[in-house]
């Protein structure tokens, strides 16, 4: 395999850093919010789930691109 392809795939997967930071921040804030207002936990949870799903998408795009570079 061309080593440049492997390096490119590794760089594409670095998008996981951003997603990790984003999901961590969101989780921290969600815990904060639930601790303050436990009665609103249902609403907070649904917004939180939507937020991490969107944040995670960037990591997934990077992963899919790495897969395409490696295996096609």
């Amino acid at each position: 395999m061309n080593p440049m392809i492997a390096i490119g795939a590794a760089m594409a997967v670095l998008t996981g850093v951003g997603a990790g930071i984003g999901i961590g921040l969101a989780t921290g804030k969600a815990v904060d919010a639930i601790a303050r207002q436990p009665e609103a936990s249902g609403k907070i949870q649904s917004v939180f789930l939507l937020g991490i799903a969107l944040a995670e998408a960037t990591a997934i795009y990077g992963f899919v691109i790495a897969m395409m570079a490696l295996f096609s």
Binding site: L49, L50, A53, L54, I60, Y61
Partner: protein, 247 residues
């Protein structure tokens, strides 16, 4: 050094082999030959499980639920409550589609958990691989969802109100609102596909490198937890999109 490179190559090749979609048999209809791949077979398995389970579990329903009926009522009632909360008074039209997708994804993503592992030189005769690791499956699901979003938006709001929704909240949002109809199915499709494929590759690597104790434990996280979370996220996002289209 050279040995290492060779080892990595064979690992990569084995992953490549595991990732390929084997054609189980080919159907010849009217001069066309349609290849039936593993994905279709596993989808049939999931369908069979769902159909048989729903036939068995809904026989002899009683007024006061007991036994398995409690579980079934819990699942169906929970899904219906969720749709009612999110979508509002039109929820009955959409509950069958999203509920079916939720049940299908819930079982399909868990398939990898029940796959036999190659341990002690034992070669399993078959390997259950989740059908959602095929981008065609997730693409079909997300395209159907966005078609339902568009059609229900037009049918429930009316053509004029639907067209007006493109220039809300301000006219300059028009290109972004149009783009949304392409980005939403793309991200729905890639999210599910990428997550399941990622978990699948990690599990394959683990089974190759440390086949003894690690895979079953890691499978609990990668197949069970991640698979269920992704099923929930897909259901949740499609419900949200539909709710936004019909409100």
């Amino acid at each position: 050094m050279t040995e290492n490179v060779e080892h990595a190559l064979t690992l990569g090749e084995r992953i490549k082999e595991a990732l390929a979609f084997k054609t189980v048999f080919t159907v010849h209809v009217a001069g066309l030959s349609i290849p039936v791949t593993e994905t279709v077979i596993t989808t049939w398995i999931v369908m069979a499980v769902l159909i048989i389970a729903s036939l068995l579990l809904t026989r002899r329903l009683t007024e006061v639920p007991k036994g398995a009926q409690v579980l079934v009522e819990g699942i169906v009632g929970g899904l219906n409550d969720f749709f009612k909360n999110q979508i509002g008074h039109n929820w009955r039209i959409f509950a069958p589609w999203i509920g079916t997708v939720a049940l299908y994804l819930g079982i399909a993503n868990l398939l990898g958990f029940f796959s036999p592992l190659p341990v002690f030189g034992f070669e399993p005769p078959f390997a259950l691989k989740p059908p959602t690791r095929d981008i065609n499956v997730t693409a079909a699901l997300s395209i159907l969802t966005i078609l339902i979003v568009i059609v229900s938006g037009i049918a429930i709001k009316g053509v004029r109100a639907w067209l007006k929704s493109f220039v809300k909240p301000a006219p300059f949002m028009l290109p972004f609102n149009i783009l949304e109809y392409f980005i939403r199915p793309l991200s729905l499709c890639l999210r599910l596909y990428g997550n399941i494929l990622g978990a699948f590759i990690v599990m394959e690597l683990l089974a190759m490198v440390a086949p003894l104790f690690l895979p079953p434990i890691a499978s609990l996280y990668f197949d069970f937890f991640d698979g269920l979370i992704q099923a929930v996220v897909f259901t949740f996002l499609s419900t949200l999109y539909i709710a936004e289209a019909v409100e």
